[in-house]
């Protein structure tokens, strides 16, 4: 039985895990994805020369620091089937989907990644991913789809690949539990008038990140060209009663501003327009980003985009209101990036019910059971940005510590 079971290896989970390890506790991290690391793994660093404090590297660095730490066990691709109280702790029944890569054997030489013919079929671990070994995405991988491709197995020096791996079940116990399941991005398909889904050049911020991760720069999905005119729209799916959630997702302002700045720095000849409802950033630093007034190619203005339509030769026509008065402005753009908010994952509600925790109308976990040693950390409590949830994870480690050590 390990001291602490952390459900969810996002920033909060990582923060808690690292802290508890430094206190000599044994930690088990249950992760639904193939790598523990959470949202930051999909995000790119927003700095070009100067650090913009996007904190993407913060949890990822600590992930890579503790990747080989003793006392840490990470169970990736795990789904929780059931839970029960057992001798002073909690037991979880797990379903673990196949990874097709033997983590113990992999030396991380990277030859397979270079050899794989299909992009995204063999996913190499990004910096800070735990475990630090690749996995096969069986939906794309040619071995499973069409011809029995075995390129990766051929080049692998240690024979770490096993295409016949099957779904496993397991039962794990922990004296204390930390629920850190985090948030899901809101799918803006519901926001009809933005045309996300049928206008290919309307992307969510995460789509844009994926493009950057693939090509190292931002490109237009339709023609692969660098966009010359980009609009970033804030509060998509947040602060709305239809096609989203009612609350403010908190991290989008900071994120959007940093992303805009990164675009401006990396595509110098591009025009970036940043459209926000209210700027809810607090650090003077991010405020400063907003006040880049003298930059000709970066405007930050208040207003709401009413509708996005298809323009001539795959441009986009954006109609928006302006800050002060209610006049309507129109502009054509090569690309529109919707800065989407977050909402608690549906799994969280189920898990919370299993563990006897309360959730509010949105699905955020609002209670914790410190007596039984069930704690909640990170953005499954309330919207948080990376730094906040990382810190909150560390903070939760303190209450876990007192639960494990202080006699009642």
């Amino acid at each position: 039985m390990s001291d602490v079971i952390i459900i969810g290896g996002g920033p909060a989970g990582i923060g808690a895990a690292e802290t508890l390890l430094s206190l000599g506790k044994t930690v088990m991290v249950l992760e639904s994805a193939a790598f523990a690391g959470g949202v930051p793994l999909d995000l790119s660093c927003k700095g070009d020369v100067e650090c913009t404090r996007c904190h993407v590297c913060m949890p990822r660095d600590s992930g890579s620091r503790m990747a080989n730490a003793s006392g840490l066990e990470v169970v990736p691709m795990a789904a929780i089937e059931g839970s029960s109280s057992k001798d002073g702790g909690t037991e979880f029944k797990l379903k673990i989907s196949p990874r097709y890569v033997n983590i113990g054997k992999c030396t991380g030489c990277g030859k397979c990644a270079a050899a794989c013919p299909v992009i995204g079929a063999l996913v190499a671990p990004p910096h800070g991913a735990v475990p630090n070994a690749p996995y096969i995405n069986s939906e794309i991988c040619q071995h499973f789809t069409s011809k029995k491709c075995t390129e990766c197995a051929k080049v692998c020096p240690t024979g770490a690949f096993d295409y016949d791996e099957k779904l496993k079940t397991a039962a794990v116990q922990g004296k204390a539990v930390i629920v850190a399941t985090g948030m899901d991005p809101i799918d803006p398909t519901g926001v009809q008038h933005y045309g996300y889904g049928y206008l290919p050049n309307v992307l969510t911020s995460l789509d844009a990140e994926r493009i950057i991760a693939e090509h190292g720069e931002i490109r237009r999905p339709t023609d692969g060209q660098k966009p010359k005119k980009i609009m970033i729209i804030q509060c998509v799916g947040s602060r709305t009663t239809k096609g989203g959630v009612e609350y403010c997702s908190k991290f989008c302002c900071k994120y959007g501003l940093r992303f805009a700045r990164a675009l401006v720095e990396r595509v110098p000849d591009a025009q970036v327009d940043f459209l926000y409802m209210d700027l809810r950033t607090f650090e003077p630093r991010t405020e400063a980003l907003a006040w880049i007034g003298d930059r000709k190619n970066f405007t930050v203005s208040q207003g709401v985009a009413s509708v996005i339509q298809k323009g001539a030769n795959n441009t986009l026509l954006v109609r928006r209101t302006t800050a002060s008065d209610a006049t309507i402005e129109e502009g054509t753009y090569d690309m529109v990036i919707l800065s989407v908010g977050g909402q608690p994952r549906p799994e969280t509600k189920v898990l919370a019910e299993r563990l006897g925790l309360k959730t509010d109308s949105f699905g955020f976990v609002v209670s914790q059971d410190s007596w039984r040693g069930v704690f909640v950390a990170g953005s499954c409590k309330a919207p948080m940005d990376i730094e906040e949830s990382f810190t909150d994870g560390k903070a939760t480690a303190l209450s876990v510590l007192s639960h494990l050590e202080v006699k009642r």
Binding site: P40, S44, C45, G47, D48, V49, E50, C51, R53, V56, C57, R60, D61, S64, G108, C109, G110, K111, C112, A113, A114, A115, A124, P125, P126, H127, G128, N132, A213, G216, E217
Partner: protein, 137 residues
């Protein structure tokens, strides 16, 4: 393309971990790049960059942490200043300032770092090769 030769001064912190991440992702460093590890780019002196050109490098690239996130607070900022100084000096003596470059990288932006290094290599390859190769000992 004539074989070129780059000395890369790499800081042990973010820059190095970025390189490692890239290498695990199957993205390998160009052959022409020779890594010289230093504890912090702030350790580097202008003379060391000049001398590595003198001893036969076609270009020098200094890879450090992002400014304001430098592991040692000020190192990468100082390094950038020195690189600019060398650029001016090279311009002054009628040599191509592109031969010296400063790259800032975060541990997570391995791919981007590789991209920048390749761009730098490309720029160097376009330049006329230096008449002296290790002429100065």
């Amino acid at each position: 393309m004539s074989k070129i030769n780059i000395v890369a001064f790499v800081c042990e912190n973010h820059a190095l971990s970025a390189l490692k991440a890239a290498s695990i992702a199957g993205d390998s460093l160009p052959e022409s790049v020779k890594i010289v590890k230093i504890p912090c780019t702030g350790r580097l002196e202008t003379t060391q960059m000049l001398d590595s050109i003198a001893t036969g490098a076609d270009g020098v690239v200094v890879i450090g942490c992002l400014e304001d996130n430098c592991f040692h607070d000020v190192g990468s900022m100082l390094a950038r200043g020195r690189v600019d100084r060398i650029k001016d000096l090279l311009k002054d003596i009628k040599m191509e300032p592109e031969r010296v470059e400063m790259i800032n990288a975060a541990s997570v932006s391995g791919a981007m770092l590789m991209l920048k290094i390749r761009q730098f290599e490309g720029k160097l390859a376009a330049l006329p090769s230096l008449p002296f190769k290790g002429a100065i000992k």
